[in-house]
């Protein structure tokens, strides 16, 4: 996708990191002669790309599926105004939620915003389609949605690309046209019929789009498919007839009708929602769709084959499927966890301890005195956000109570407080997420006299997606130095008076600061600062365990550090994983001083 866009003459590329879309901008940032940026969030990224398009050049904006929710406002606006230079919006869906909070099907956005959508089914098509996407955008005066999924984005397949492409980029020039660009109601009203007309014209155009492909094989079954699902279908149904669509909105209806008339029965194979199926059914064509292919989760050749055999679309295999006759053995799972030396670990550990008491004992009688006592003992509620620190929800940390979407933690905490919940409430948000969409919520707390405590976990990078820069790092997408946003200055500027900056590896200070801040009657911010160990890769002096001191309380295992293991009932430290006394959280939680810094 990145190379395709580069060869298609893109001039400006913007993005906010998000799995599985991050690598697109990372790769564009290695290419010469174009402008790239990590934008503060997807909405900003969309607006910057739209501005570039208004300026006459080709622009690309990429994000993960939920990023388009953030960017939906300018995306819909772009559909109304149209473009000058080609504008391609890449969204990468995540069926199966490998690294996401939902598995929304972003094809609906195309229909919703009345823009065309293109879907590649492998790397070659992704490359080829990019040039078409820009052309289509310019010819039809529309942004073009370009949909990838995890199995397109995180797959590598062979692609032939242009050699030392003769790249032509458009000259920037803004031509004033308020009727097109200034969307006051009187200007916007005449644009709507143009949008409807545009979809009609695109529909005809898609009929002859050369990358849609009809393959007539066995006529007893005709499969309509797109994206990664098409490859699975080819794998599973060896001889069937196929209609591969790369233009999944608006659909080439005549082409579909022609295909349907060539085959005895039509099967629609698509991941997630019945998007194609619904439109094709409305056309009056009978299809087998979601009764065959699950609506939930990521599709795979495995699932497709099993379903097709059960539905009688494929013959029973000669030998019994191996998986059915086996006794299922319960193997221990390996959930992701915070890395050894993670600057979020101490805060998570502290929050777990402070939050512990809100699991109320069931056997207590509710006398008035007891209720009072219980209220006093109520633990802290922790609203959390999107980032590595969300992993603290897993055992043994179990530190978090909510996580919804980027930037939600601060608003949620404020809402809990205003609802009258009497627990102390703390919101936890990362540096990149705070700058993405936490700032406005904090303004809201200050303005509306909230008392909330916001912990900003500042590891000076966007860690979860692989260490991208953000405004707080002072490093640009190309790795150059730039103006750094100082988070403590920013929150003071908003009007927070109680601003604390603490070392991420100082557990007693973190705990004491949280305890103090939640008792005050004003908003407070605790910036917990420490670098991501995977980025800085520096180790301190190694830690060792003095087993004679250890009384086997195993409190150190509650930290959830992968470098601490238990062999029988002996605690050991894996020095290859441990970052040494740069962290020393285990040393701080041990009441017997069994962990020691080795001076060797």
């Amino acid at each position: 996708m990145a190379l395709g866009a580069y060869h298609a003459g893109v001039s400006v590329a913007t993005a906010y990191p998000g799995t599985p879309s991050t690598e697109i901008l990372e790769n564009l940032a290695k290419m010469e002669g174009i402008y790239v940026e990590w934008s503060t969030n997807e909405k900003v990224a969309m607006e910057v790309a739209l501005g570039a398009s208004y300026g006459g050049v080709r622009a690309l904006v990429s994000m993960k599926h939920v990023g388009l929710n953030v960017a939906a406002d300018p995306f819909f606006a772009a559909s109304v105004t149209g473009v000058r230079g080609g504008l391609v919006v890449i969204c990468c869906d995540d069926p199966g939620m490998h690294s996401s909070q939902n598995e929304q099907d972003n094809r609906h956005y195309a229909r919703f915003a009345k823009v065309p959508i293109l879907e590649p089914s492998d790397s070659q098509e992704a490359y080829n389609l990019m040039e078409w996407a820009f052309k289509m955008s310019e010819e039809f005066d529309t942004p073009v949605l370009f949909r990838s999924t995890t199995r397109i984005s995180h797959c590598k397949t062979v692609a032939n690309v242009k050699e030392a492409a003769d790249i032509k980029r458009k000259q920037p020039r803004f031509i004033r046209d308020p009727y097109k660009f200034v969307m006051v109601p009187s200007n916007a009203r005449p644009r709507h019929p143009l949008m409807e007309e545009r979809i009609q014209k695109l529909s005809s155009y898609m009929e002859v789009f050369p990358l849609n492909e009809m393959i007539i094989g066995d006529r007893s079954i005709g499969i309509i498919s797109a994206g990664a699902a098409y490859q699975y279908a080819r794998e599973v149904f060896h001889n069937a007839s196929f209609l591969k669509l790369v233009t999944t909105y608006p659909l080439p209806q005549n082409l579909i009708k022609r295909f349907a008339s060539e085959v005895a029965r039509v099967v629609v194979i698509e991941e997630l929602d019945p998007f194609l199926e619904d439109i094709i059914k409305v056309m009056g064509i009978q299809v087998i769709g979601k009764e065959l292919v699950p609506i939930v989760g990521e599709l795979s050749p495995q699932i497709l084959e099993e379903r097709a055999i059960n539905a009688g679309l494929l013959p029973q295999p000669q030998q019994m499927s191996q998986s059915t006759k086996k006794v299922e053995r319960a193997l221990p799972l390996r959930p992701p966890l915070l890395c050894p030396g993670c600057p979020h670990a101490a805060t998570s550990y502290a929050l777990r301890r402070l939050g512990f008491y809100h699991v109320e004992p069931h056997d207590e009688q509710a006398s008035e005195k007891r209720v009072m006592a219980r209220q006093k003992r109520q633990g802290i509620i922790v609203t959390s956000d999107i980032g590595c620190y969300t992993l603290a929800v897993y055992p043994p940390l179990l530190a978090l109570d909510t996580c919804a979407c980027m930037g939600a933690s601060i608003g949620q905490a404020h809402g809990l407080e205003k609802a009258g919940v009497t627990n102390k409430i703390v919101s936890v948000i990362g540096d990149s997420t705070f700058l993405h969409s936490g700032i406005t919520s904090l303004v809201d707390v200050v303005y509306n006299k909230g008392h909330g405590t916001v912990i900003i976990l500042d590891n000076n990078t966007t860690a979860m997606t692989g260490h991208q820069g953000h405004p707080g790092t002072g490093i640009s997408a190309r790795g150059e130095e730039t103006q750094k946003v100082i988070i403590e200055d920013l929150v003071r500027g908003i009007g927070v008076r109680d601003v604390n900056v603490v070392n991420a590896f100082d557990l007693p200070l973190i705990e004491a600061t949280i305890k103090r801040c939640v008792e005050t009657d004003e908003p407070s911010v605790i910036i917990v600062r420490g670098p991501c160990p995977l980025r800085v890769r520096i180790k301190g002096k190694p830690l060792v365990v003095d087993l004679e001191q250890c009384d086997k309380c195993f409190n150190c295992l509650r930290v959830g550090c992968a470098a601490i293991t238990k062999d029988g009932d002996k605690i050991t430290i894996d020095t290859a994983l441990c970052v040494g006394d740069r962290c020393s959280l285990c040393l701080q939680v041990c009441h017997r001083q069994a962990f020691k810094v080795s001076e060797g």
């Binding site: 199995r151 995180h154 590598k156 221990p332 390996r334 890395c339 992993l391 043994p396 992968a562």
Partner: protein, 202 residues
């Protein structure tokens, strides 16, 4: 050109993805159509990692179906057992005999399967199982990080790709100062495979 499906599994940080990238590139240069797909989950380190790698005349799906895997290359024992049901009958399992216990095991809520148990699980699918002390060999060679190259070296003996193609790819991929070590690891892995294969035939 035989169709070959390889499933590489391990724990984040072990170099699974790099190994599958290197093998994919080598196969591509040897004239195969290649598709690969990685699942990383959320963590950079410590979670389960699996990489599907398919090569042949013409490949459609980048993901392998259960019961189709020709070679299961496990960088860690538990992750070998976890994906054993992907093996085809008579496929080859190459397991680094290393245990990285997940936190649930360390915390005592679950138990880690022994080598014998893992072997039992895999034996339900195939008898051709190689347990190798690859991490120990890598440490002997001077750097546990060369585990991935060593395992690819082991696998390479079973594949229909010339040895010099791997060496060519490594020479381009690895920074000069680590090249000798990596070439040594590759050769050592391949040699180990040769010895094991011969022993098996006796």
């Amino acid at each position: 050109m035989t169709k070959t499906d390889v499933l590489m599994t391990g724990v984040g940080g072990q170099g699974v993805i790099l190994a599958s990238d290197a093998l994919a590139e080598t196969a591509l240069k040897a004239g195969y159509d290649v598709k690969k797909s990685d699942s990383l989950g959320m963590s950079q380190r410590g979670g389960s990692v699996v990489s599907h790698l398919r090569m042949g005349e013409h490949i459609f799906s980048p993901m392998i179906k259960k019961g189709d895997v020709d070679f299961l290359l496990a960088f860690e024992r538990l992750e070998g057992a976890r994906w054993a049901d992907y093996l085809r009958r008579g496929g080859i399992a190459i397991i680094n005999n290393l245990a990285i216990p997940p936190l649930s095991v360390v915390g005592g809520t679950s138990t880690y399967p022994s080598t014998v148990e893992v072997e039992e699980i895999i034996r339900e699918y195939t008898d051709e199982i190689y347990f190798i002390p690859a991490t120990e060999i890598a440490v002997e060679l001077g750097n546990p990080q060369v585990l991935n190259v060593l395992l690819v070296g082991f696998l390479s003996l079973f594949l229909d790709i010339e040895e010099k193609s791997y060496i060519g790819d490594l020479s381009q991929r690895v920074p000069p100062k680590f090249l000798q070590l990596n070439l040594k690891a590759f050769a050592r892995g391949r040699e180990e495979a040769l010895i094991r294969k011969q022993n098996r035939q006796h």
